[in-house]
Amino acid sequence: MEIKISIKNLEAFYGKNRVLKSVSLDIPKNKVVAIIGPSGCGKSTFIRCLNRMHEVVGGSMTGSILLDGEDVTKVDPVLLRKRMGMVFQKPNPFPTMSIFNNVAAGLKLNGLRNNKKLQPIVEKCLKQAALWEEVKNNLDDAGMNLSGGQQQRLCIARALAVDPEVLLMDEPASALDPISTTKIEDLIFELKKNYTIVIVTHNMQQASRVSDYTAFFYVGDLIEYSETRKMFTSPDKQQTEDYIRGRFG
């Protein structure tokens, strides 16, 4: 099993405040890894360290994160983020842009402006995001006119357009209704054939449905990391078992 991202002794800080304590885990290629844990346990911080978005809000980190063996701190963050796309909790399509332009934004703003060349890429990404059928006749409509679930799929298509290798998803379905959530989960299952996916979720049932591996964080510590099947049938640590049984947090 190939390892896509190797994390060793990652510590993250907000100023002097340490929010992640010595986290080490390996993310396998083309698998879905779910990060679970109660609020404030550092799961969002963890995922944002991977594509160095943590720095954008004034955070800092130590330890090593290797993407295909390369240290991410030694790479230009702009290039890094083209390899690791991110989808956020609240759908955030660009309000001034049409559906087409939203998907193409990452490419257009990096120099590729030829609409003829962009058209097949936009179509492919919308199909991958399971949104094509619903919008193929309205590509010039405002991105903001879509429903919440559609907007989130639009954001996924947008992230896919820059051809990343990894998709980082920070609670992608928590702002959505159950049917949209199911659509997103089905989507993740399809996407993992071509992308490595790390998904943060506070919904344990979602983690159990969707992921191959699960990592349980608690107050900045990685408590347990194992195959999802094992974690939800016979976890190693008592803390993990208490959490997934709903006995705390």
Binding site: M53, V56, V78, N92, P93, F94, T96, G106, A159
Partner: protein
């Protein structure tokens, strides 16, 4: 048996009702008091200025006193040129400063800049005019539209800066994050995404700045001075509606006083059209839900 205290129409109930009515009336009175001056301004300007308002007013040049058929073409064009010049200076500087302050200005330097901008917005316009006189008119050895443009530009900067900064702050952080997460460099994110989202608000700030500049008189007295004749040479003195209103209104000739009213009316119309233009430009391209 329901609770008597709440259901009874007792003293407290009536007292509350009375207070409510009083406050409502007071706010209505205050609103009317605020509208009345505006109504008066419009009334006087329109009623007094309408007499001389004709197409000729817009194309003819000023004529000596008493001669019929005069106009203020040069002043109208002059005002437009002057606020245009002011805009060339004030708009870019204002927007860029506002952008800097909101995106990068969370440090000591930013604090200082913000403070100075506030101070600048409080400086009387006549003082700005005198400074422009010293800085531009004296070295050039004559009055000019350039000097006037510089003065007006300086006056515009604080308004535009402040509005730009506020409007950019309103852009949700999520949009910046989305841009950065796509691998778009920060400067491009700011330009193509943040500014693009905030541009309507920024345009409003620009409009405010331009309108303020259009209505300034004192700084122009020291810089553009005024011009009887037709001139679009920005290196030379230039006429403007405000200076004309000043000159004509204080003159002893009734004919000229009349024209001053018309000039005032035209100025108000100019600003209204400017405002309308901005509304059209900034209206939403998409139908909103």
């Amino acid at each position: 048996m329901e609770s008597g205290i709440i259901k009874e129409k007792n003293f407290f109930h009536y007292k509350k009702k009375f207070t409510s009515v009083v406050m409502m009336s007071l706010t209505m009175v205050a609103t009317i008091a605020a509208i009345v001056p505006l109504v008066f301004i419009f009334y006087y300007t329109i009623s007094k200025g309408i007499t001389y308002l004709s197409p000729q007013f817009f194309v003819a040049m000023p004529k000596p006193v008493g001669e019929p058929g005069g106009g203020m073409a040069n002043a109208i064009v002059g005002t437009l040129i002057l606020i245009g010049l002011g805009g060339i200076i004030g708009i870019p500087v204002g927007i860029m400063t506002g952008t800097y302050l909101s995106e990068f200005g969370h440090n000591k330097f930013g604090y200082v800049v913000r403070f100075l901008t506030d101070v600048l917005s409080g400086v009387p316009s006549i003082v700005v005019g005198v400074v422009a006189y010293t800085m531009v008119v004296m070295p050039m050895k004559h009055f000019s539209a350039i000097a006037g443009g510089i003065a007006l530009g300086i006056l515009m900067i604080p308004t535009i800066t402040r509005t730009t900064e506020e409007m950019i702050k309103l852009v949700p952080h999520a949009l910046r994050e989305a841009g950065l997460a796509l691998g778009i460099p920060k400067w491009k994110t700011t330009l193509a995404i943040v500014l693009r989202s905030a541009w309507k608000g920024i345009a409003t700030g620009v409009l405010l700045g331009l309108s303020r500049a259009a209505g300034e008189t004192a700084p122009l007295l020291f810089t553009a001075l005024g011009n009887r004749f037709w001139s679009t040479n920005i290196g030379q003195p230039m006429a403007s509606l405000t200076v004309y209103i000043y000159d004509y209104a204080k003159s002893p000739f009734e004919d000229w006083n009349q024209q001053a009213w018309t000039a005032a009316l035209v100025l108000i119309l100019l600003i209204s059209i400017l405002s309308l233009l901005f509304r059209i430009i900034t209206r939403s391209k998409y139908k909103t839900n």
